[in-house]
Subunit: 114 residues, 2 copies
Amino acid sequence: MSDCIFCRIAAGEIPAELVYEDDLVLGFRDLSPQAPTHVLIIPRKHIATLNDLQPEDEAIVGRLYSAAAQIAAREGLAERGYRTLINCNADGGQTVFHLHLHLLGGRQMNWPPG
Amino acid sequence: MSDCIFCRIAAGEIPAELVYEDDLVLGFRDLSPQAPTHVLIIPRKHIATLNDLQPEDEAIVGRLYSAAAQIAAREGLAERGYRTLINCNADGGQTVFHLHLHLLGGRQMNWPPG
């Protein structure tokens, strides 16, 4: 059994409120939402950080974004807009070391971005 | 001549401080930096927003991220960390309607992300 919480969510061992699922990625709601919509989209493959991306992972990153756009549309955010981000390591604010894309919307996002 | 400022930067018609360039994407420093390192990475292809991504653009999005990781490493940010984001439309804070990835680092990024 993996000790990575996101691998365990992907394996169905830990419950999460899934909003998207395909062969490469899945999306579920963040437990500490920072906006009316706050979804995390993760690859099924365990990739610790952006620094660990391999050239063959480019399709996975592309899929994270096509999933984000689909989820945003379903949540009624496409026209108003939304913010997507991936944090890397401590200065970026990464706390779970399984790559994840944050999708935030439903309010005006501010600048600077944290 | 395009009226898109980022298309004009990609075409070399408007100067920018380039930090990365390949066949699909280029990176240059943001003129209003929000962190010690603040780079914008754009596709050469004009894509207005995340909502306009087509399935065949997944490789472009993947490349934006592999470029971001390479730039972060060159700037000495890989271990300390960094934040990457793409804004979509007004609520996301998008101001130039040519898809761009923000890479920010060199300081602790805060939460919430704007």
